[in-house]
């Protein structure tokens, strides 16, 4: 499909965007990675309202914007805001977040030039994120094993060749995929699992990753933002967080039967993980962790806003 934003018409852009802006400024829309529009019991999303549809193809036909890009933009907002039920509010919910994060709701749409082809924005953004992950000053750099780093560098090398118009043989990708699976399986760092699963999942041609990217990036970003909280924790709290991550990994990777049930206790051999995942521990530390999250909020917003700015730069350049 060829993309031409707003069919090249500034008037169409204004016509489509103005009602969205009005609703967004009234905080009557709820950002969502899925297109939501006029759905029973569910608030409409920004993109769903823009095209008045829940259907990806209709969205792309009406707006000329890739649905993958819309999903990514909404996802960046969702990770930076907190949505809570508010019955006294006409929308039935309220959104809380920093102005810098909230303004992105329509900022990315304002940045789109009518007629622009935005089909390469998500692949370019994916490339930016991988490059950042591999930088020595990346927040989680100390938790990325040499094997995982090698896999990341190989993916980035192939992506750059692909973006330069060169073809990569399927066999070459298979080698990287096998290395990614192995590096993930061998990784034992509590913070490394989120990075490993992300790298393993994106070990494909970057254009083909575009459709999946928002869904793959979300847990990676969540892990990254959660790590930023550790700067405001005591040593004991940091250890507990690592035990929690190891426990969650054990549960995520435990074999399940056809009903999705695990027929053994994956935490049996991880008593410390079992302790910190217990409801008793969670309840006892809830207020303290909430305070940590609030203290870390500006650092997390900075990361989110930086990612938003990258998207804006790419959109402006299209």
């Amino acid at each position: 499909m060829t993309f031409q934003a707003f069919s090249g018409s500034p008037a169409l852009k204004t016509q489509m965007l103005n009602p969205v802006r009005e609703l967004w400024n009234a905080r009557a829309l709820a950002p969502d990675v899925d297109l939501n529009w006029n759905s029973d019991g569910q608030a409409s999303s920004i993109s769903g309202t823009l095209a008045k549809t829940q259907d990806r193809e209709e969205f792309e036909q009406r707006t000329g914007i890739p649905a993958d890009l819309a999903a990514l933009c909404e996802q960046l907002i969702t990770v930076g805001v907190r949505k809570t039920d508010a019955q006294d509010n006409a929308a039935g919910f309220s959104l809380e977040g920093s102005g810098a994060v909230l303004e992105f709701g329509t900022e990315w749409l304002d940045a789109i030039r009518p007629g622009a082809d935005l089909s390469m924005i998500v692949p370019q953004f994916a490339r930016h994120c991988l490059d950042r992950l591999l930088k020595s000053d990346f927040d989680l750099a100390g938790h990325i094993s040499p094997d995982l780093r090698d896999v990341g560098c190989q993916i980035l090398f192939f992506w750059d060749r692909e973006l330069a118009g060169q073809a990569i043989a399927r066999g070459d990708w298979r080698d990287v995929q096998r290395a990614a699976i192995l590096a993930t399986a061998n990784d034992t760092n509590p913070w490394g699992y989120g990075v490993a699963t992300f790298l393993e999942a994106i070990a494909w041609p970057v254009r083909s990753v575009s459709r999946e990217f928002a869904g793959l990036f979300e847990p990676f970003l969540f892990n990254w933002l959660m790590y930023l909280e550790t700067a405001f924790m005591t040593d004991e709290e940091r250890m507990d967080r690592e035990h929690m991550l190891l426990g969650l990994k054990a549960m995520a990777t435990a074999p399940r039967d056809e009903a999705g049930t695990i027929d053994f206790d994956p935490l049996e051999s991880l008593p410390e993980s079992s302790r910190v995942i217990s409801s008793d521990h969670i309840m006892r530390t809830m207020d303290r962790m909430k305070a940590v999250r609030e203290t870390a909020r500006s650092n997390k917003d900075e990361v989110i806003r930086d990612l938003m700015n990258t998207l804006l730069t790419l959109i402006h350049g299209a």
Partner: protein, 108 residues
Amino acid sequence: MSDIIIAVDETNFEAEVVASGLPVLIDFWAPWCGPCRALLPTIEALAPMYSDSMKIVKINVDENPELKEKYNIQGIPQLYLTKAGVQIARLTSRTRTQLAAELDEILP
């Protein structure tokens, strides 16, 4: 892209799954299921890679209770690889990389 994944129901099951000359990967799903929606792009990305060796279909379990019962589906998403309608494997991976590795081991 979504055209690659054929929606199968009780009316076209025989033709699309049982009579298929290729193995058929069935994605059991439902519209309300978040993990099912998250898995769909992964399945769609796999489809063109295996178009010579496998067909991919999806079955909405809410709309097709007989097929849900036939395969004893107890949880979704569920991925079954079938031959002539008979289950030959249950795929448990959820990333494209791991699913491709699983399929490469099973498919000829």
